[in-house]
């Protein structure tokens, strides 16, 4: 805790990708033996900050960054991750970067194995010498002992419990000669409660030995317990930098999702203008979901119960990794799911994308390039395809209906219509979707869903990674479609402000369950509580809060 002279200090760090400002004037220090909790919603700039710290090539390729980094008192500009590693910064990723078929020792010392120098080195180069297994094992053991955990150095990674894998990665970072700072990105995301506890105590142990730690996590309870100070990032700005002691998860959560001034004005204006025409309990239920579970990697849905009113814009929010994205993917059959989903009184078959589409439900996926688009085909194909396959639109029967002939003319007319409607900037309906800008691609995905004239439209992260102008247009179009055609829209987004400005009611998902449903006019703090899953954990934190 004695931060005589900070190991790392970031001064005025800024970064923008193609004119899109991602980080603005972020500065904070990390002293030796100090644990900093770095929190912020997805897209708040956390991962970009780490990429800048590690000198990832993607940063230099997109025009470098503003501000300066001081490491060990000296100005440091790491051009490649290896410079950062050699300087003494270790990184533990969320997905394990371990070799499954290697033992713990081999993984810990990957590419830094101790060799017994062979006589052939001069001729064939250093890599010809054989490995000194004994020395490797003792080095690995000493690193593991530093962690204060027991790991079998000869066990293969693929036979290891998840917790042990995490410790192996940390041990690998520890094994670097002059490690002074370790960055952990969502380390507890895949751990059970008990494993997480052991990890936290290990990190405290490391800190006590003078190693600085940056702990990135969405589990705010852990951040409060473990860290000395908490740095909150939102929309690329450092909002707060305060000692963790005495703070509460509720406070941190609301800081994370709190709104900057101009965004606030926008919401008040929008909500005031919109009369409450579809009140929360008026109108009959169009879609009711009971005990829904969805096996989607990183977005597991454990047990969700919802009922959505006809003509309503229903919002689903929550922190990253809590399972909000799993809900639409499960219902639309794209990820394995179970439970009961009833549309207009009739149950919908799960795990069958066709069934969901045939029941007039459409889905704009969050994974635009992967799921949402045919990058090699033209805009006309992209928009008309699903409607053609599911509702036989844009097809002319030939030979007396024996075959269905695709009418390219009808498809390009449809594309023209949506290009005008959504102001898609392109050279024409034939342009390949691949070379459209992010915003225009999102509009094409929307057009694809609108072409289906759905009763219920699921939209997932509609405004992620697109410019401000396109954001407004996309949201306005959704609202227009809801008003004119009465389409019920279920919008899943991590941008709470957007949800509050567009949706009537907003459900917050925490650890795969609905934590609570609030009207869009509810104060921001209430959302903060639900997002941190606070009410269930409030009790224990209060008890323990005194430490």
């Amino acid at each position: 805790m004695d931060s005589a002279e900070p190991i790392l200090s970031l001064k005025g760090i800024g970064k923008s990708f193609y004119g899109n400002r991602v980080l603005a004037d972020v500065s904070f220090d990390v002293g030796a033996g100090e644990i900093i909790g770095l929190v912020g919603e997805n897209g708040a700039g956390k991962s970009t900050l780490m990429k800048i710290l590690f000198g990832m090539p993607v940063i230099s390729e997109t025009g470098g960054f503003e501000g300066s980094i001081f490491f060990n008192g000296k100005e440091a500009r790491f051009k490649t991750p290896f410079d950062a590693l050699d300087a003494g910064i270790g990184m533990v990723h969320q997905e394990f970067s371990l070799i499954p078929g290697f033992t713990t020792t081999e993984n810990i010392l990957l590419n830094r194995e101790s060799l017994n120098r062979s006589v052939l080195v001069d001729i064939f180069g250093p890599r010809i010498s054989t490995l000194d297994r004994a020395a490797m094992e003792s080095r690995a053991k000493s690193a593991i002992d530093k962690l204060g955990v027991t790991l079998d150095p000869n066990m293969l990674i693929k036979e290891m419990p998840v917790g042990h894998k995490q410790f192996t990665e940390i041990a690998r970072e520890l094994c670097r000669e002059n490690v002074k700072l370790i960055v952990l990105d969502e380390p507890t995301a895949v751990l059970t409660e008990s494993e997480a506890e052991v990890l936290l105590s290990t990190l405290r142990l490391l800190a006590s030995e003078g190693i600085a730690i940056i702990f990135i996590s969405h589990r705010l309870r852990e951040v409060v317990e473990l860290c000395d100070r908490v740095v909150v990032l939102r929309d690329g700005h450092k909002i707060e930098d305060f000692p963790a002691k005495g703070s509460s998860t509720k406070q941190i959560a609301s800081l994370m999702v709190g709104r900057s001034m101009e965004a606030q004005a926008k919401i008040d204006a929008a909500s005031a203008a919109r009369t409450i025409q579809n009140g929360s309990d008026a109108g009959e239920t169009v879609l009711s979901i009971e005990n829904l579970w969805v096996d989607m990697p990183g977005e597991t849905v454990r047990n969700v119960n919802l009922s959505i009113k006809k003509g309503e814009i229903f919002g689903i929010g929550g922190l990253a990794g809590q399972g909000k994205l799993g809900i639409p993917n499960g219902i639309m059959g794209l990820s394995p799911a179970g439970g009961s989903v009833v549309l207009n009184g009739m149950p919908v078959a799960l795990n069958a994308p066709r069934a969901a589409l045939e029941r007039n439900m459409a889905f704009v996926s969050e994974d635009r390039r992967g799921v949402g688009l045919l990058l090699d085909e033209g805009i006309d194909w992209n928009i008309a395809f699903t409607a053609m396959q599911v509702q036989n639109k844009f097809l002319k029967p030939i030979l007396g209906g024996l075959f269905l002939w695709r009418s390219d003319a009808a498809m390009s007319n449809l594309a023209e219509e949506y290009i005008k409607l959504l102001e898609i900037k392109c050279t024409g309906p034939g342009q390949r979707a691949g070379n459209l800008s992010g915003g225009n691609q999102q509009k094409v995905c929307l057009a694809k869903a609108f072409a289906l004239r759905p009763d219920v439209l699921f939209v997932s992260e509609p405004t992620r990674g697109i410019d401000i102008g396109a954001k407004h247009l996309v949201l306005d179009t959704l609202k227009k479609y809801n008003r004119e055609y009465g389409t019920t829209i279920v919008m899943v987004s991590s941008e709470l402000e957007e949800l509050r400005s567009v949706c009537d009611r907003i459900a917050i998902v925490y650890e795969g369950r609905i934590e609570g449903i609030l009207p869009h006019t509810a104060p921001i703090e209430d959302f903060g509580i639900l997002m941190a899953g606070a009410d269930r954990d409030e009790a224990p934190v209060a008890l323990v809060g005194g430490n």
Binding site: P353, D367, V371, L374, E377, T386, M388
Partner: protein
């Protein structure tokens, strides 16, 4: 000027070299005493012979199953069709049609099983296609020995069981397409209207197919399988349809080939049949997951052009026949070029 550059870039340097090479051959022909009309007519005959085999690759490339090195499965179906039609004694046009019908039945069955297998190994199709093709050729070789064929023209001379390695279709349906409405200009220019007609009709049918609803779905599966799945397409069924089509077209292709070649080649005949067709469609500009009919036409014309012109020109000029070596280098060079392009689908 930049449209020229863009055309050159996407047409690919090797393809430009090959086109110039062929062009040079055609230019050089008259000077070295090679009879140009005969060569052109020879090229056309060979395009008629191999065209459908090249066309057979389009469905699988479009559906993302990659280059169909297992085309020999279709060829086997064609051989079965031909031999059974001869065994039953059908002669002339009726014999030819019977051979095709029987071969389509076998092609469908083989294609279905082959498609099911390829669906299990998405991503590793090409290598498995190659060796499944090789092993099935060998099983058929054993079958040719055992199957109870009786027709004297086909079984070994001394009345043993098992079929001869090459069976002549002389008395049955030799040149039935090549001589159909043949246009004979001068004594050595012969335009095989029948064969070219069948090739054109089949290409038109394929063009129509890919304009239908199911064809569009198959193209989407090849372009982005997750997109197709999210649009309610049953990916596995579409892939199986494309594999069945490819195998059945292969069966038809080999029968058209045999009527012009004049002989049915059994046992290890079809072992390497897939490679010239794959090389041709790649020379035509197809990628590993995108193929159009223009690729088929340009590819077949270029490849067969090289195959016919090189021996005659080289013999005339250098008195040495390097055509076999050049064919190997050009065709395998093209496949290698295509394999090293950056594509995500169908390893």
């Amino acid at each position: 000027m930049d449209s020229m550059k863009r055309f050159a870039a996407d047409f690919g340097l090797p393809r430009i070299i090959i086109t110039l090479y062929l062009f040079a051959l055609f230019l050089a022909a008259p000077f070295v005493g090679v009879n140009l009309p005969a060569s052109i007519s020879d090229t056309l005959i060979r395009i008629g012979m191999n065209g459908i085999m090249v066309l057979a690759l389009v469905p699988m490339i479009q559906s993302g199953c990659g280059l169909n090195f297992g085309l020999s499965l279709g060829v086997i179906a064609g051989l079965l069709g031909a031999t059974i039609s001869i065994e039953m004694g059908f002669v002339g046009a009726w014999g030819f049609v019977a051979a095709i019908l029987i071969s389509q039945a076998f092609g469908a069955v083989f294609g279905y099983g082959y498609g099911k297998l390829l669906n299990r190994v998405k991503g590793g199709e090409m290598m498995i296609a190659t060796y499944v093709g090789f092993s099935s050729v060998m099983i058929m070789s054993i079958a040719w020995l055992i199957l109870p064929f009786k027709d004297p023209t086909m079984i070994w001379g001394y009345g043993g069981t098992g079929l001869r390695t090459t069976i002549s279709v002389e008395g049955f349906w030799r040149h039935i397409l090549d001589d159909f409405l043949v246009i004979q200009i001068g004594e050595n220019f012969k335009f095989p209207t029948g064969a070219i007609l069948v090739f054109a009709v089949m290409s038109f049918l394929i063009w129509v197919f890919f304009h239908l609803k199911i064809g569009t779905a198959i193209t989407a599966v090849g372009s982005n399988p997750t997109y197709a799945r999210a649009s309610g397409i049953n990916i596995d069924r579409m892939r199986i349809v494309s594999v069945m089509m490819s195998t059945m077209l292969g069966a038809l292709g080999i029968i058209v080939f045999q009527q012009s070649f004049g002989f049915i080649q059994l046992y290890e005949g079809p072992l390497y049949m897939a490679f010239p067709a794959v090389a041709a469609i790649l020379i035509g500009g197809a990628g590993v997951n995108k193929a159009t009919l223009t690729n088929v036409f340009i590819g077949a014309a270029l490849y067969q052009g090289i195959l016919t012109m090189t021996p005659s020109i080289f013999n005339a000029v250098l008195k040495v026949d390097m055509s076999d070596v050049i064919r190997i280098i050009v065709s395998n060079g093209m496949i290698l070029y295509a394999l090293t392009r950056k594509t995500k689908v169908a390893k």
